[in-house]
């Protein structure tokens, strides 16, 4: 138990901003949305989307912070449609972004 807590603390410390911290529940919600919709582009890099798990592609986006990433998620950018082409609410979208970020660290 102590080990898990300390591991969590460590990973939190490594995140560039505390606001990006996310619990397992959020990541699960995010993964669900990712797998239904975001995966269309972010699994293959279609239309130049940063691929899931590609640390190099995600590093500059993560560096810009969650607010900027959420701005893209909400309003779209380039070939990416607003809300990633979904009708998901803000919290679910944020969870999906957090999931993608978690896979790039």
């Amino acid at each position: 138990m102590l080990k898990i807590v300390s591991l969590t603390a460590l990973s939190l410390a490594l995140l560039p901003a505390l606001s990006m911290a996310s619990d397992a529940g959020t990541l699960k919600t995010g993964e669900k949305l990712y797998k239904s919709a975001c995966v269309a582009c972010h699994s293959t890099g279609a239309a130049n989307a940063p691929k899931l798990g590609n640390k190099q592609a995600w590093a500059p986006l993560i560096a810009k912070g969650m607010d900027e990433m959420m701005n893209v998620a909400l309003h779209g950018k380039g070939a990416m449609p607003a809300r990633g082409g979904t009708k998901a609410d803000d919290a679910t979208l944020r969870a999906a972004v957090e999931y993608m970020v978690s896979r790039a660290q």
């Binding site: 797998k35 239904s36 919709a37 975001c38 995966v39 269309a40 582009c41 699994s43 293959t44 890099g45 279609a46 239309a47 380039g78 070939a79 449609p81 990633g84 082409g85 979904t86 009708k87 998901a88």
Partner: protein, 361 residues
């Protein structure tokens, strides 16, 4: 001196070509026409044999993403993607040697990037690499139609090609020989009307209770749909966008003595058309008119990724079924339509000698 002159001429020609790229495009000097595309199963007005010189034939198509009902009886829906709002997209007709010039529009109301790959064209992934458009953009592609036949066109965005195709984005371009269609001996063939049929294998996901799922947006359907696609078993196989699209009020029509050309496209999956009660008088199953047609076919085979052609002159009235003769795919999954034919019955070709009645001892 003579050699020198030749060199000079060659140099002049070379500089003309190099400097005149924008001016010397041969297609720019040709006549431009703008035929009107019509919704399937109908096909735009066109000449068969033509005396016209090669032209630039301009078309415009607008991409429309929309939720459609694919099975009215059960209310099953699909997040479809279409060229011009129909499945298949409209059939374009040109002649060999013409240039096809397509303006492709992706309105801002759509969510996804699209493009178009013409199997009739040469280069740049069928035009796919030159036509990538985001919502709110349009593009113009021109290519020379230098091979005759019926050819698929379809959307092919890198990374998600199959999804866009099975969601509805395909149609046919027919490139006719300038002197029309010919039989196996080179004699002219003429059709009185033409229908275009697009066969679509659909992959609609089910929920845990076994009911077909409905989605708010196309992208939300992506993950589940690709899972079904990977199983390679379609949930539905339909002609022209839904079960029964070509039956009842939507049935194709003809008259005894009339010759009908049936264009049949299937962008993703093999099919085997058959006209119940009729035949394929002349069939280019792989759709390319430079080859001799096969005759008297009961069933023909169109490989996925191909548009094929069948020509038939009706000899009997009645309701015919035009089906994919894997009969499960036709009658369970939806790949069947009707042709209603008017005219006089021919007793010589078929006669009911004794109507069904009790067995006599």
């Amino acid at each position: 001196m003579k050699v020198f002159r030749l060199c000079m001429a060659a140099t002049a020609l070379a500089s003309l070509l190099a400097g005149g790229v924008a001016l010397a495009d041969p297609a720019d000097k040709l006549e431009h026409i703008k035929p009107v595309l019509v919704a399937p199963p109908h096909v735009m007005e066109h000449e068969q044999a033509t005396k016209a010189k090669p032209r630039v034939v301009e078309f415009t198509m607008t991409i429309e993403e929309k939720k459609i009902v694919i099975d009215e009886e059960n209310g099953t829906t699909m997040q479809a993607m279409t060229f011009n709002g129909s499945m298949p997209g409209p059939t374009m007709v040109v002649h060999e040697g013409d240039y096809v010039q397509l303006t492709l529009i992706n309105p801002a109301t759509n969510a996804l990037e699209h493009n178009i790959d013409f199997h009739a064209s040469t280069g740049a992934l069928g035009g796919g690499a030159l036509t990538k458009i985001k919502p709110g953009e349009q593009t113009v592609l021109r290519f020379k139609a230098d091979r005759t036949g019926t050819f698929i066109y379809h959307c092919a965005p890198e990374g998600m090609v199959p999804w866009h195709v099975v969601s509805g984005m395909s149609g046919t371009l027919m490139v006719l020989p300038r002197d029309g269609l010919k039989d196996q001996d080179g004699k002219p063939l003429h059709y009185d009307k033409v229908y275009t049929i697009g066969e679509f294998d659909l992959y609609i996901p089910k929920d845990e209770n076994g009911n077909y799922k409905e989605y708010d947006t196309a992208l939300e359907s992506y993950g589940d749909t690709t899972e079904v696609m990977r199983g390679l078993i379609p949930s539905h196989i339909v002609f022209n966008g839904k079960k029964g699209a070509l039956t009842g009020a939507g049935a194709l029509t003809a008259k005894v003595g009339e010759t009908v050309l049936f264009i049949h496209s299937s962008a993703n999956r093999d099919t085997r058309p058959h006209l119940i009660g009729g035949h394929g008088d002349y069939v280019w199953a792989t759709g390319k008119f430079i080859n001799k047609p096969e005759r008297n076919l009961e069933t023909w085979f169109i490989p996925g990724g191909t548009a094929g052609v069948m020509m038939y002159t009706f000899k009997q009235p009645g309701i015919y079924a035009y089906v994919n003769h894997n009969l499960i795919e036709a009658f369970e999954l939806g790949a069947a339509g009707h042709v209603k034919v008017e005219g006089k019955w021919n007793d010589d070709l078929m006669k009911q000698v004794v109507a069904p009645s009790a067995i006599k001892n």
